[in-house]
Amino acid sequence: MIRPEPVRVVILGGGTAGWMTAAALAKLLPGQADIHLVESEEIGIVGVGEATLPHLREFIRRLGLDEMDFMRKTRATFKLGIDFVDFGAIGERYIHPFGAYGTDIAGVGFHHYWLRMKAAGRVPPICDFSLPIVASRARRFAPIPAGGDFLDSSYSYAYQFDATRMAPMLRAFAEAHGVRRSEGKVVGVDRDGTSGDIAALRTDRDETIAGDLFVDCSGFRALLIGEALGSPWEDWSQWLPCDRAAALPCTAPDGPIEPYTRATAMPAGWRWRIPLQHRVGNGYVYSSAHLSDDEACGAILGAIEGEPLADPRVLRFRAGRRTKSWDRNVVAIGLASGFLEPLESTSIHLVQQAVTRLVELFPQRRIDASDRDTFNALVDREYDRIRDFLILHYHATRRDDSDFWNHVRTMAVPETLQRKMDLWRTSGRVELYTQGLFLEASWVAVYLGQGVVPISYDQRADTPAPDRLAKSLTELDQAIRQRVAAWPDHGDYLRQAGAWEAA
């Protein structure tokens, strides 16, 4: 028999992570993975996590889902970026767009030319040179045309969706692709006497589910990777002190729908505002050392722009990750593997990355240690790079209006981030890597958006004559305005494209 035996995969947890894993393994490894998912309706899911990143589109495409159907089922809106308010200083704002500013000229990044013009005092804000930012401000949206011009390829988009509807949708898909599901609370874990690997899970309904590979998607509980295996946790709260969130959905206002998420800095953290089709998601992410739960709930109640749809719900977490997301025969995916606050909407992306890696490194019944090591190295790199990028949002500030902001402004940052900031400050350059989530354009957006202006720029940007450069910047600015003016209103487009779910 040449063809390997299918691997028995047991997934614990039916939140976004559990069902994304089940759906992807069932679709991409038919006949290779025999999948059984166990979840407990009594425990329920986190059910927050509404803002996503453009990579999710690739996941949906690989599963073969219809985009509009997906959007209707999850009441999704489009997202072109994140609007950061009051981060660099109170009263300042910028959008971190899905896309770059301007276009390279003669192989030199646009921001170097912009820095030159800024030094000469004759340039509009850099956000005017970004199509997704101008469109966000105008609350317009259009899909990316195939074979478009340089402006059409200058942006990307993601979704803002109702997280409580994502898992049920993927569940239907996964079950149609042969995934078995058991209802029940896992109350016991059987270990193999000799290897110490996990052999089976036992539920409160007297079911025993045996497997070769266990995927821990049990959320913050981390029942297998944490409780059963005791895999160590690397704590990052010294740099990312926020450890709670007060979440509160509210009614959607009448009028245009923002094609972006908003993050507003608050005295002890920040709050999100995510517009969906049928409501708006809100939440205050805060540091419990600096703010009480009651104060946080009061603050979010006072900040929302519609009628509250529930009482504020407090969630607790810690920033950090497992030192080994894959330990023995347990792979942790989702909140069980680690947590980074949703400042850049990265959690669902980390789930997607982990699932993709697991497919790439999918084991045989006996697990090869080198697959495990490779998986862990890739997961760590992804987490670590996002961590530095998030810390930048706090550290690059001039705010001195609260203990919280004084702490993050003055704290020592990881050496890997310090090096990146030193390079930027002195030269306007961004440390190069190609595999991370946030590449040059994103770093430039946050640096400039939060007022970290470098003392220098690429000297090649001095080459074009000043008037010629000013003229091409003006032309670019106009081209972007004209393009966006021809785009439909975001809400109109949702309806016209068939993404709107008639309530």
């Binding site: 063809r3 290779q32 490779t374 030193d422 002195t426 030269s427 350059r429 190069l432």
Partner: protein, 424 residues
């Protein structure tokens, strides 16, 4: 701007080999306001890059950047684009390698895993993996193949003409001495006399280079991992267009291209492989063989040198900057040089242990066909895949995604390569 307002007004490139000329031209283009000067030194017998007319496909991007017409390059240097390699090893059947830059995927599955599955299921009847890549090449077009093979003296002549047309000043000297001051070059003295000074010094003097060592940069020796080989060239080109043949004999390689023939022979007296510990100190940067040496039987040696030039220009610091760009340059260069060492080990001494990085790459590939290379490697994942498939042991495990593919997809993917060319 406050602080670092300085601009680079003068550049001195030491060495007028292909790397020095290419660097001077690229810097002239990048800094139209700067004076670029080249110091010509007597020919260096130990240089490979000045004798071996072969480059990786990066040369095409480089030519675009400096504005060199690809047709002019091909005509003047008699360039032949290589896209099929035949390896002949003692007592083993010949193996073919075709080129690809990216790892090809079919329905989300890496092509080599589809091929491996087919080979397990259908055994002998399979076309070789090179045929699969050739079929793709026909369908998608050429990504640059393995890069051109050409007449190096003609290329050096062409670059020399370009340099002259661009007002690059060339001074011929017998030798230079370096005066260092506070971790930077204070000046060079030519033949014990005239002072040469610049804002930026580029050491492209090849194996005999001294600029960076004069500033205290150490040299890391790789001769424990890589063979010491000497290179001899003969102008006897032969074989079909686009084809080249590598015969491994007695620890050496005879490499026949349509343009020339090269012999790489073990030689204990040859200058050993290795690289500088730091390539950019203060106002001096070493590129090409002045910074790294590892034998290759393809165009990657020159390719890595051209990448040095592109990196140097992308990170060009201002003379009064704080040294951060230099640090970033060194970080990227170190990754490139480690990749070159691994590549050199795989290609010049297949089967030997080679550098530690190569052992890891080899193990990951042998286990399940993964190409585990650094994201900033100048040698593309597809290039690694093609060579590992040709020279390494084939992966032990077929990827589960390939087993999950419908039979029809596997059959049609193989069928595209089935009217394979007859191996020569």
């Amino acid at each position: 701007m406050s602080g670092a307002a300085g601009v680079t007004r003068s550049v001195l490139v030491v060495g007028d080999g292909v790397v020095g000329l290419a660097a001077a031209i690229a810097l002239r283009r990048a800094l139209p306001g700067a004076a670029v000067r080249l110091v010509q030194l007597p020919g260096d017998e130990d240089s490979w890059l000045n004798r071996l007319g072969a480059a990786s496909p990066i040369i095409h991007r480089f030519h675009r950047q400096i504005g060199l017409d690809p047709r002019l390059f091909a005509r003047r240097t008699n360039a032949d684009p290589a896209y099929l390699r035949h390896y002949v090893r003692d007592g083993q059947p010949a193996v073919r390698e075709a080129s690809t830059a990216a790892i090809p995927f079919v329905e989300g599955v890496p092509l080599h895993h589809i091929w491996l599955r087919h080979r397990l299921e259908d055994g002998e009847g399979a076309p070789d993996f090179a045929a699969m890549l050739l079929a793709l090449r026909e369908a998608r077009g050429d990504e640059g193949g393995f890069g051109p093979r050409f007449d190096i003296a003609a290329y050096q002549g062409l670059l020399g003409e370009m340099a002259a047309a661009l007002d690059i000043d060339i001074a011929a000297v017998a030798d230079v001495t370096v005066t260092a001051d506070n971790g930077a070059v204070a000046g060079l003295s030519a033949d014990g006399g005239a002072w040469l000074r610049a804002d930026l010094y580029v050491d492209a003097a090849g194996p005999r280079s001294r600029l960076l060592t004069a500033l205290g940069a150490g040299w890391t020796d790789w001769s424990d991992w890589l063979p010491k080989l000497s290179l001899s060239m003969s102008p006897d080109g032969g074989g079909a267009q686009g084809d080249e043949r590598l015969a491994y004999e007695g620890g050496g390689i005879v490499w026949q291209t349509p343009v020339w023939r090269a012999a790489l022979a073990p030689d204990a007296t040859a200058r050993g492989p290795g690289c500088l510990g730091r390539c950019w100190l203060g106002n001096a940067v070493a590129i090409g063989e002045a910074a790294v040496r590892a034998p290759t039987a393809d165009g990657v040696g020159l390719g890595v040198a051209l990448e040095d030039i592109l990196r140097l220009i992308a990170l060009l610091p201002r003379p009064d900057g704080g040294g951060q760009e230099q640090r970033e340059y060194d970080r990227r260069a170190a990754i490139a040089y480690r990749a070159l060492a691994d590549w050199s080990g795989l290609s010049t001494a297949p089967g030997a242990d080679g550098p530690p990085g190569l052992a890891e790459i080899g193990a990951a590939f042998a286990a399940r066909g993964r190409v585990a290379i650094d994201e900033l490697s100048p040698i593309q994942p597809g290039e690694w895949l093609a060579r590992l498939m040709a020279l390494g042991p084939p992966p032990r495990r077929v990827d589960p995604t390939a087993w999950a593919l419908p039979d029809a997809v596997v059959r049609s993917t193989i069928a595209r390569a089935a009217p394979a060319r007859v191996p020569t």
